[in-house]
Subunit: 669 residues, 2 copies
């Protein structure tokens, strides 16, 4: 390892990664060749010399996690996966960016073996890597026992200028430094080139200085092509007690006579002629495309497979001994790996009698969370500095920190964006994360919801202070469009419960969901607990919408529907209308997404097509409710911003009242 | 100024700011007293000794801009406004947080005189301040002439730990440092307390180090209560050639015997008893509430009014001489101050004939932007490192930088969030900003749209790559829910034009709008230019939706509607249906918001209630389209994520085709 003489085999391996990237992008006629060409030596160093993994089992629990935060450089990862023996064939690489190909434009989790997280939106991979590093430390604290280092892996993320500039990446760096995540290494591709040109157009930070000020160790490489040098940089990183940034001064499009070190190498195919010139310059055969020299494949694959098998076999053998000695812990470990919750996880969730009175759904949520967390020891999460308001501080549990690595309360700081991104990372490593802030600040982590959904991660977003019910804090703190806009995200289940019992069921649903995220939308203000004897069971939540209260006789003439705090207004209006001899049904609709997955017969049973006198009410944007009220119905809501005043006044002022429902009914008729 | 002896008048002024804050929060029974109590000396120092402004004219063009980024400390600002003679009475402060009060929970622009920007969502004020500082420098470069320092003001932002931790604040710092904004000063309230407890829970940055690494000058105050010391810190800041951070080690809730330096002082009233104790400790009369000693009011108000009048009078006198010497520039200046565009600003916007062929709407947008920018010299903007793709680089214009302060092309770097926040700041200072990125990354600046809208700022958001038409980059880069979720934001006008001519009209509309933001949603791929002789005029865009192509005979039986790239699919389907003898109307609906502002008669004329066979198509979430198709119609779109493949294949694969429209029609019938 300490030789300075060029190692031909290494150069061949590195150039194979480069040429595969060039050829794949050229064949697809789109993609990003420059970064893979530049970082092939880094990738080779990490994957051939350091990464502990088993290519035949990408799920090996104690594998090192490699995150390609600069996801546009996907061919770099695909090349490494192919060469180390993952189920990524040369044909897969040849079909880069084609429909249903494993090798998508950006790496997609669950889509291509060995891809640890879906990346592309910049900075997200860094946030994910922090979550993975927290998870590693947490799992080690909980599961490792004397003689049993069950959990002892590293998290390595590769990132570019975009990741480093994005606020979410900066938040990630700040929190990782604070948490002293010694198991975390970021390799920063400092190529000084962005799409618009040189980084000097917009970026002149002393990045090393910034990271050091944030509690990181920094290693600055001097040569992006010297494998032994890069190797020693990585070793220094892995050995340090702080998270470490390795800065690599690469040259984008390395080897390309006309495009190296230009933004022209970033996001477009090099072109056939330039590829030919580049291959010549690199000493590769320009007449061949997608060429993998057999000795390269043999060497890299064989080494990775042998080491992988040995590593996993040793670990498996250790785990069997562990199971004998620590059966309860081993059972929990199995659950985590399988994405299961413990038997009876929801047995102790609270229920509320009619006399429970007025309870804010955020409070009922807090009670449910405490119960769930007691049953599921790997629920870990917290708030962006609103734990008390969000009711998400786990009682009797430590803060997550270097001193208490098993701490389940993560204090994310006032960093909503990376909070959510970290939750994705924790979920990817098997934890059941929950994160929380005011609903209005879901905007700050907006981009993460869709990644949770795209990856099918059961992250629970706890969003409190869900409407103008926020009151005096005013329009900047009052969500209006937020429930609608969360509903528009594919794969995200949004639940806005109407009272304490619905809140319990909302939590039960969120916990039971293993294939995607859930957003719980919770009130600041107290909500009356509906009498369980007088209305339908709150288990109706699991069908998304249900007949909460049926008219006393015959088919309904009128359907009133709503969610959350407005359901009680429907009940109030229905009572008045029934007293006037009208037949009124009240439908509680806590989750549109869950309702949409019910069969047509159930949906028709709740909202019969024949009944067109429909009024929906929700203290927020009316947007989207026409799906359920149609052209003939009415929606009561608020399509402008809120105001600073006591909440009860605002509901009156903005006409979100039972009287407004009565008026709407009379308008329709 | 250099005396070390305590100045009783100063102390009285400072304590008045403190007690007003305590009393206002107590009366409202909600709010944030701790920071105003801590920062009253800082506020006094800035407002009494440094701020150049004229309280009787909050719009005085060359005033210093003061931004309270920690907007929850609003009573600090209200106190200063009251004491310096703004139209903010003691009664206004007494009605803090009540409906329609000037003194809202968080400061609201246009709502309370002297409030420069709406703050509350943390970090936004910092972004705004960068925009204001860029605007100051830009306007100085364009308007100042020898002997005429028309523009020479400072931008000062007060911020707390939240602002410093938020990614958007970090992005703002990074870009401000790069841009060397010497006119910018941030005062950082380093009180080491957040809502959840001490900052040591989540934050251990060397903030000074981080800012120095980002190109800032840093001044660390040693005493948060010594006005002379604070004064010299501010002087050092104002005199430096770099943006400067002044770190003030304050104690939250200063003066409160039981709550000082605790998170208990942050976000709740102190309580009557604690207020009494605090007033005693501060040497104030505990028997009085909302007490403003007459000598305090006299001293601060008189000084501010006198200086303000003198400053503005001198400036006005200078401006009259300027007008005589530089009449054209003075005219432009008037336009900027009035929020007007130059006469004929849209005269040169392009139009396209039928033979223009296929043009991506982002390309047509680029042409329109160049034309508009030539006519409006104070259009300034750029992209988050996608200027080429977004087509938003102004030709022949400089980059905004310290060396070229008049540069109109802002290279925001890969920092979408602060890009938008900066645009708000630029708009607040009179510029007409445009910002751009891929539509999918509108998520990263999500929270800013609503602030643009709430403040009524004519920011133009240029969002390209608007659908699965993105193609090979795959689901992370393909917007699905984004158009729907932007539509759900109150006050934001969303326009998705169908071809090059509609794109021109979309730009005309966005430019003409002076009271709020517009998001232009533009295609990556080419769109056929509709034959102006065969379809209705694209000026229909200004009504939001219009009958693009009417059935050849009688009333329509079928209405097909869509936006953007899907309008041509409607045309194709309509042609087939008409050939089959059906009467079909095609409605282009580029902007729901503009359509909703039309009168009922026009809306009925476009979408007659009697016609219920309606099909809508849009390459994105179907969410919300039921507003126009009702319970009986159909919506064709994509309610799941996209995929990585050539775009034309994706439209087929996901069934966003003319055939799908035909099928939907037959399903309805």
């Amino acid at each position: 390892m300490a030789t300075a003489a060029p190692n031909t085999m290494e150069i061949d391996c590195i150039n194979t990664i480069r040429t595969l990237a060039m050829d794949a992008v050229q064949a697809a006629n789109s993609g990003h060749p420059g970064t893979p060409m530049a970082l092939a030596p880094v990738m080779y160093t990490i994957w051939d010399r350091h990464l502990s993994h088993n290519p035949v089992n990408p799920s090996f629990a104690n594998r090192d996690r490699f995150v390609l935060s600069c996801g546009h450089a996907s061919t770099l990862l695909y090349g490494a996966l192919h060469l180390t023996g993952y189920d990524v064939s040369l044909n897969d690489i040849k079909s880069f960016r084609q429909l249903n190909a494993k090798c998508a434009g950006h790496p997609e989790y669950r889509h291509c073996p060995g891809v640890e997280t879906t990346t592309g939106p910049l900075g997200q991979g860094l946030g994910n890597s922090v979550g993975m590093a927290v998870a590693e430390r947490f799992l080690a604290a909980h599961f490792n026992k004397p003689g049993f280092d069950l959990v002892s892996h590293r998290v390595i993320a590769l990132c570019g200028d975009g990741d480093i500039m994005e606020g979410v990446g900066m938040e990630a760096a700040s929190l990782a430094g604070h948490l002293k995540l010694s198991n975390l290494t970021w390799v920063y591709d400092a190529n000084k080139i962005t799409i618009d040109g040189g980084t000097d157009l917009c970026f002149s930070e002393d990045v090393a200085g910034r990271f050091e000020a944030s509690g990181w160790h920094v290693v600055t490489a001097t040569d992006a092509n010297d494998v032994d040098h890069l190797d020693s940089c990585m070793q220094e990183a892995f050995g340090h007690e702080l998270p470490t940034l390795v800065i690599v001064p690469s040259r984008i499009g390395y080897g390309s006579p006309n495009k190296e070190n230009t933004s022209g190498a970033h996001g477009a195919p090099l072109g056939e002629e330039e590829i030919r010139l580049t291959k010549e310059a690199l000493g590769c055969d320009p007449s061949q495309s997608f060429h993998v020299p057999s000795e390269v494949k043999d060497a890299m694959t064989q080494k990775a497979l042998e080491q992988g098998a040995a590593t996993e076999n040793a670990w498996n053998e250790m785990f069997e001994r562990y199971r004998a000695e620590w059966p309860a812990e081993a059972g929990q470990w199995d659950d985590i790996q399988a994405g299961r919750l413990p038997e009876g996880f929801d047995a102790e969730l609270p229920t509320y009698a009619a006399d429970a009175g007025s309870i804010a759904s955020r409070k009922a949520s807090g009670v449910a969370l405490q119960s769930a967390a007691a049953a599921v020891p790997w629920m870990v999460g917290g708030s962006a500095d609103l734990a008390g308001s969000n009711q998400t501080l786990l009682k009797g549990e430590d803060a997550q920190s270097a001193e208490t690595p098993g701490g389940r309360n993560v204090f994310f700081g006032i960093r909503e964006h990376v909070m959510a991104s970290i939750a994705n990372g924790m979920a990817l490593s098997g934890l059941r994360p929950f994160v929380s802030t005011f609903l209005v600040f879901s905007d700050y982590c907006r981009s993460v919801h869709r990644l949770s959904a795209m990856m099918g991660l059961p992250v629970i977003y706890v969003y409190t202070h869900d409407s103008i019910g926020v009151g005096e804090d005013g329009p900047t703190h009052q969500p209006i469009e937020h429930v609608a806009s969360l509903r528009s995200i594919p794969g995200l289940t949004v639940i806005r419960p109407a009272d304490a019992n619905e809140t319990t069921e909302a939590w039960r649903s969120a916990l039971a969901r293993t294939d995607g995220p859930t957003a719980l939308i919770l009130s600041r203000q107290g909500l009356p607990t509906m009498d369980p004897d007088a209305v339908a069971s709150a288990t109706g939540v699991h069908r998304g919408a249900y007949v909460l209260c049926e008219t006393k006789g015959g088919d309904p003439q009128i359907i009133l529907m709503g969610t959350g705090s407005e359901v009680s207004l429907c009940m109030e209006a229905a009572e008045k209308l029934e007293r006037d001899g009208r037949r009124v049904r009240v439908v509680s609709m806590p989750s549109w997404e869950m309702f949409e997955t019910q069969d047509a017969a159930y949906r028709e049973s709740v909202l019969p097509a024949s009944c067109r006198c429909r009024v929906a009410i929700e203290a927020g944007a009316t947007f989207g409710w026409e799906r359920y009220v149609g052209l003939d119905g009415r929606v009561i809501g608020r399509d402008d911003f809120g105001a600073s005043a006591p909440a009860t006044q605002l509901f009156q002022e903005f006409g979100i009242t039972a009287d407004a429902i009565l008026n709407a009914v009379s308008e329709i008729e």
